[in-house]
């Protein structure tokens, strides 16, 4: 409803941001705020210091290099959806971002925020795992790159440590992608989602069923072995008012199959 008292700073450079984040254990990055402000309103978490990344234009770039599509962590969903480079390089990203909530949220919410909050129902964690993305993390000691599958550690927990900042998400070239979900209402919160990529060996990442995306590499894209490998990997999904554990497990198989089907239809 209303936040607790908090300190606020709006750095104008990445170095300044890192300094502020490193200065206190209770400092947190404020990106789009579409998750963090809600969490703070509910007083479920109350950082001592908010480091507003809003002025860090260097984190808002989108570029294509030999590594692939490079998204600055502060790129908003709307910005990504509008970007020609994304449409050309990896349209699935735009398709999925366009399903997130509503235009107000998409105008503020960032790709970096989506992955760093790692709410189990988020769209981007499973998608980026399936696409083989890598995350660039910068800290006082320098920078490092973490593959998506190793980036997500737990609910609201990622490889970004205290005093560090996600600066970029890099998606390698590719395009045989698929994404499927069951949501609460149109463009609503995901009950279960799955992303698939068939550029190399098939990869399927299922979201909403565990603290982190569950990644499976099925022996084939045929329905039966695919369902079996998903069933084997999704062992104990959470139950809540929208879905029992059993229902989620069932849906996980279904959306995995649909994501794969969609991926195979893209050349």
């Amino acid at each position: 409803m209303l936040l607790r008292e908090v300190e606020y700073a709006r750095p104008t450079s990445l170095d300044q941001a890192l300094q502020l984040l490193g200065a206190s254990d209770g400092a947190r990055a404020l990106a789009g705020g579409q998750t963090l402000v809600n969490v703070m309103k509910a007083r479920a978490a109350s950082p001592d210091v908010l480091v507003d990344l809003g002025k860090l234009d260097e984190l808002r770039t989108i570029a294509v290099s030999e590594r692939g599509l490079e998204l600055g962590a502060m790129v908003t969903y709307s910005q990504l959806i509008r970007d020609e480079q994304v449409r050309a390089a990896r349209p699935i990203l735009a398709d999925v971002c366009a399903q997130i909530a509503d235009v107000q949220v998409r105008n503020r919410g960032t790709v970096g925020g989506n992955v760093c909050s790692n709410d189990p129902t988020n769209h981007l964690p499973p998608l980026l795992c399936a696409l083989g993305a890598s995350m660039t993390i910068v800290g006082p000691g320098g920078g490092r790159t973490v593959p998506a599958e190793e980036f997500f550690l737990g609910v609201y927990m990622t490889a970004v440590g205290l005093g560090e900042l996600l600066t970029q998400i890099t998606i390698p070239p590719g395009g045989r992608d698929g994404f499927a979900s069951v949501t609460i209402g149109a463009d609503g919160t995901c009950i279960v989602n799955a992303a698939a990529n068939l550029d190399g060996e098939p990869v399927v990442a299922v979201g909403c069923v565990s603290a982190v995306p569950v990644v499976v590499r099925p022996s084939s894209t045929d329905e039966s072995p695919l369902r079996e490998s998903v069933r084997g990997a999704v062992t104990d999904p959470p139950g809540d008012v929208h879905a029992s554990s059993e229902y989620r497990r069932h849906l996980a198989e279904v959306v995995a199959v649909r994501a794969v089907r969609q991926a195979s239809e893209r050349s």
Partner: protein, 161 residues
């Protein structure tokens, strides 16, 4: 740079510039409603779900309950009060009235800002695009039927005098 618990925020709202000292934790919607006395923007929920607080900040449609006032320092903001000029309703506002797109009027300011933003960026939206454009605005009175109708009418210039 030192973090602060409060700051002076300068915002230009509907063409007028205001300066207020606010706590860092104050939400933008409360700056607008309580500190600037612009009560047209409404609060309908506490999870950023309903869109009653929608305003346009630096040209982008946002939910003002999901921004801190301090984040808007230096920004240009448009609220519902800035739509009509000298009591002259915009075609969109008139279309809302013509088509009975409001009953209790509580969601209406946010709905109008979303529709204004939509038509600015997409002057000839389809039915599906209209619905997507107001997907972040909850209405409990109208079932959205007449709201969609009104936005469509405004887009096509079919508005009473």
């Amino acid at each position: 740079m030192e973090p602060v618990t409060s700051a002076v925020v300068t915002v230009t709202v509907n063409g007028e510039t205001y300066e207020r000292e606010v706590e860092a934790r104050r939400l933008l919607v409360h700056l607008i409603r309580d500190d600037l006395d612009l009560t047209g923007t409404h609060v309908g929920c506490d999870t950023g779900s309903c869109g009653a607080c929608s305003v346009i900040v630096d040209g982008e449609l946002v939910k003002s309950c999901m921004l801190l006032a301090v984040q808007a320092d230096g920004a240009t903001i448009e609220t519902v009060e800035g739509l009509a000029q000298d009591g002259e309703l915009t075609p969109l506002q008139q279309a809302f009235s013509d088509n009975h797109a409001l009953q209790c009027g509580y969601c209406t300011p946010g709905m109008l800002m979303s529709a204004t933003y939509l038509l600015r960026n997409n002057p000839e939206p389809t039915d599906a695009e209209i619905r997507k454009g107001i997907q972040g605005n909850i209405c409990r009175c109208t079932g959205y039927v007449n709201i969609v109708k009104a936005i469509d009418a405004a887009a096509r210039g079919e508005v009473s005098a």
